[in-house]
Amino acid sequence: MSKVTVTINGQDVEAEAGRQLIDVIKENVKEEVPHYCYHPGLSVAASCRLCAVEAGSKDADGNVKMFPKVMMSCQMKVTDNMVVNTHTDKSKQHRKEIMEFLLINHPLDCPVCDQAGECGLQDHSYNHGQSESRFREDKIKQPKKQVGEKVLLYGDRCIMCTRCVRFTREISGGGELYVHERGNGSEIDVFPGFGVNDKLAGNVVDLCPVGALLDNEFLFKQRVWELKSADSVCAGCSKGCNITVDYNKGVIYRLKPRHNPEVNDYWMCDEGRHGFKYVHADERIKRCQVRRDSAMYDSSIENAVDSAKEMFSEFTPETGRKLAVVISPMASLEEQWLAASWARELNEQAILVRGPVFNAENDETFKAGFTISKEKAPNRRGMELILETFGGDQMTFTDLVEAAGRNEIEGIFVQGGYPWQNWCPDEMVEKLRNAKVLIVSDILDSKLSQRADVVFASAVWAEKSGSFINDQNMCQPFEQGIETFEVGVNDLTVFWQLAGRVGPADLELVREELSEIKNQSCSKEQQADTVGA
């Protein structure tokens, strides 16, 4: 791409030719140029008319000629010798007037609106609007309607930016939404018998700059200013969409996509978006447990670790007893590494077992190329990398179950973490139980955990920091949002303590140990940027 020089507010700026002016302004000007209809992931509509700037060009002699009208920076592509002034009296006045127009038919129901606090209308009114309106007529009232199973439309609040319409046409491809009627009677609607129900539906809620499109699952649950956010990675499939976990007081209220052009762009699927319910399920294993005689008792992690250590002390190489450790594709790379390291330190002949990977029938690809992976595990590639690195005796989970059924394995550690209770069917559990020692680290109470000797209360992805290697071999770190039931307990702590390491588990140290193998095998280490588009 060739470079062009654009003069923005008197400063010469270099930019790639053909980029949208509004993006170049965003990167180079501190003061904001507001917009509604423009979204970098969608086609340009240029209809809200808010992003106006004054623009012109400079000739060879340096004479500047400006267009008489204000220009919409979203629809202009940068060209060489373009001159742009973003905050002139004229453009500021224009924005004030547009804000006045947008508010004349918008209800002032911010106190009951979910969007309040992260609303484009609120923010831009405050920063670019005016305190008084000349409008003294009655506002138009529009209906509320359910445009999808989980997408609710408050027609009153819509400002006709058409982002949602363009999304269903350009990205998800269903084209369910359209603009009904004309002029200020326009409303967003769905065709009779159709709804925004595909797996990308939730994105239209994120795209809505105002409180018109709402997620039924989040509706009236929280005021957004109460929410705290953690940058995370979705664990729903091996795509590894970059997300933020929005939580308050230990409860996750919603997941939203974070922009990452190489993974998920601006989007995420609803399987991931609404798929975090198990995090707060009653069936979560909340405390570590230890079997005394035939009953399970809650225990501290130290006590559980001590019991496990004692049981596994019989599995040194000299005893000849066989030990198998299941590495889960649901665990973080760091946890997998520590688990494998501990196993081989304990017994260099320990068998490393490939945890089961559950697959849907097919990948699902949408119009613009967004693909939901059929592989419902976030870190299969991490698991494989660890197995490859450690080598030695290895087997699949099915083989392990069979071997245990034949009484060939005496000690088993199962790293679980699957978001389904019955991931290990009862008959498999019975076979595994043939082993003398069965220790499980899992998140949901199940037959497996009920039959174990020691159960570690494991953490879900939102409760810990770590990394997943996604289906493009990109190693993506994620941050902890909420706390586990027992503070600080996750697989990292468990294996750290099992390995007899001192002090609290040190993620950074583990990452350092890991860095060499990671650098060799990951295409890149990706940290997404958080973009409020």
Binding site: C48, E97, N105, Y178, R182, G183, N184
Partner: protein, 425 residues
């Protein structure tokens, strides 16, 4: 100087819609002359004639044709704008009613000049009868070899389709029309790219008004000098004036460009109805604004109305209002039209037109406030919130009409507001 009708010469002739009658009266004879010329020569001829677009904007037709990319490999389309929806305008309908083959002849020679290989005639949805007439004419022309492959042995191919609109004013805006032609909602496109570069189906497209195209065969016949000899220096040629409202003989009159509004009313339209005085006249479609009774000597050429605060000549569909007309109601009617026809895409137009309608309704209901007029002027003024701030010109049309009416008849608006306040107290 007496003026012989050019575009309407076949009006009143028996069976003038028929191909045989048209050919008998010299129709389609511009084709051999056109095909003997190179397309570029033809474009130069039209440029030299000073033919300006009859659809409302008055842009040089020949110049518009030169914006097409040179040596374009793929198809170039001709899109004929027959979405005549501007209130008070009925000239293209008149041409189609009486002389549909003249339109087709214009399309053929203009398509040849622009190297277009397909012509789409976008006809207003409400023109049921005209669509039938036109389709019949197209069928006849196909049969006689005026469309299709190797037209009249010239080696030039042209297909022609009649596409009916679905009844939206906005589809008269050229890019709104192209969207509708593609089967989409008639929302005007952002420009650039202009239709000459990326028009219908993403290909270079010429968009011309019906009357503009009808002038082209006559220019080929009689030459550019003949054309410039008619009308005024900057507004050449004959023009159809549609006059309606409070006159004795409303209708379509073909006259040289530049006739004054007063002459049009008095000499041609038979004067004011019932001997009333004229209060004002809309020069050409309601979006152009209004000429006050004092301004009736305005020449109705492309520049006259513009010099008197109107937006321009527009379509030359003149609406005359007599002294009994309530200008507040008239403006309310116009604004209601624009509010109803605003496509709803751009904020200023969508919200502004509805806002103004509500204000005018309130004034008419006797609840006007003193600053209502200033507020409306603030919205509509050249530096106001609506004109020049949107993708297409519909907001400008709304604003211009409102601004003209309020400024030129301010006392009447104020009186309405004041009398209302008096009653209210």
């Amino acid at each position: 100087m007496s003026f012989e009708p050019v575009l309407t010469k076949n009006v009143g002739v028996k069976d003038s819609q028929k191909l045989s009658v048209y050919v008998e009266r010299g129709g389609y004879s511009s084709l051999p002359k056109a095909f003997a010329m190179k397309p570029d020569e033809l474009t130069d001829l039209v440029k030299a004639s000073g033919l300006r677009g009859r659809g409302g904007a008055g842009f040089s037709a020949g110049m518009k044709w030169t914006f097409l990319p040179k040596d374009h490999p793929g198809p170039i389309y001709m899109a004929v704008n027959f979405d005549e929806s501007e209130p008070g305008t009925f000239k293209d309908r008149y041409l189609c009613d009486h002389d549909p083959h003249q339109i087709l002849e214009g399309i053929i020679v203009s398509s040849y000049a622009t190297r277009a290989t397909v012509a789409y005639i976008f006809i207003r949805g409400e023109f049921h009868l005209q669509a039938k007439i036109l389709q019949k004419a197209v069928d006849e022309a196909y049969e006689a070899g005026y469309f299709g492959k190797n037209i009249q042995g010239s080696g030039y191919d042209l297909e022609c389709y009649v596409h009916r609109g679905a009844g939206a004013y906005i589809c008269g805006e050229e890019t709104g029309m192209l969207e509708a032609l593609e089967g989409k909602r008639g929302w005007p496109r952002i420009k650039p790219p202009f239709p000459a570069i990326e028009g219908a189906f993403g290909k270079p497209t010429v968009v011309n008004n019906v009357e503009t195209l009808c002038c082209v065969p006559h220019i080929i016949h009689n030459g550019a000098d003949w054309f410039t000899s008619i009308g005024t220096e900057k507004s050449a040629g004959p023009k159809l004036y549609g006059i309606s409202g409070h006159v004795n003989k409303p209708g379509v009159y073909e006259l040289p460009l530049g006739v004054t509004c007063r002459d049009l009313i008095e000499k041609y339209a038979g004067g004011m109805r019932n001997g009333k005085k004229c209060k004002g006249a809309i020069p050409g479609g309601v979006s152009m604004g209004v000429l006050h009774a004092d301004e009736l000597d305005c020449p109705l050429d492309f520049d006259g109305p513009g010099q008197r605060g109107c937006m321009g000549l527009g379509t030359a569909g003149v609406i005359v209002m007599d002294e009994d007309t309530c200008m507040v109601s008239a403006l309310r009617n116009i604004v209601h039209f624009f509010k109803h026809e605003s496509c709803g895409q751009c904020t200023p137009c969508r919200e502004g037109s509805g806002w103004m309608l509500k204000t005018l309704d309130r004034i008419l209901a006797g609840e006007g406030k003193k600053d209502d007029l200033d507020n409306m002027i603030e919205l509509c003024d050249a530096q106001g919130s609506m004109p020049g701030k949107t993708i297409c010109g519909l907001a400008d049309g709304t604003a211009w009409a409102a601004k003209n009416f309020i400024q030129k008849y301010r006392e009447e608006f104020e009186a309405k507001i004041e009398s209302a306040s008096a009653v209210a107290v």
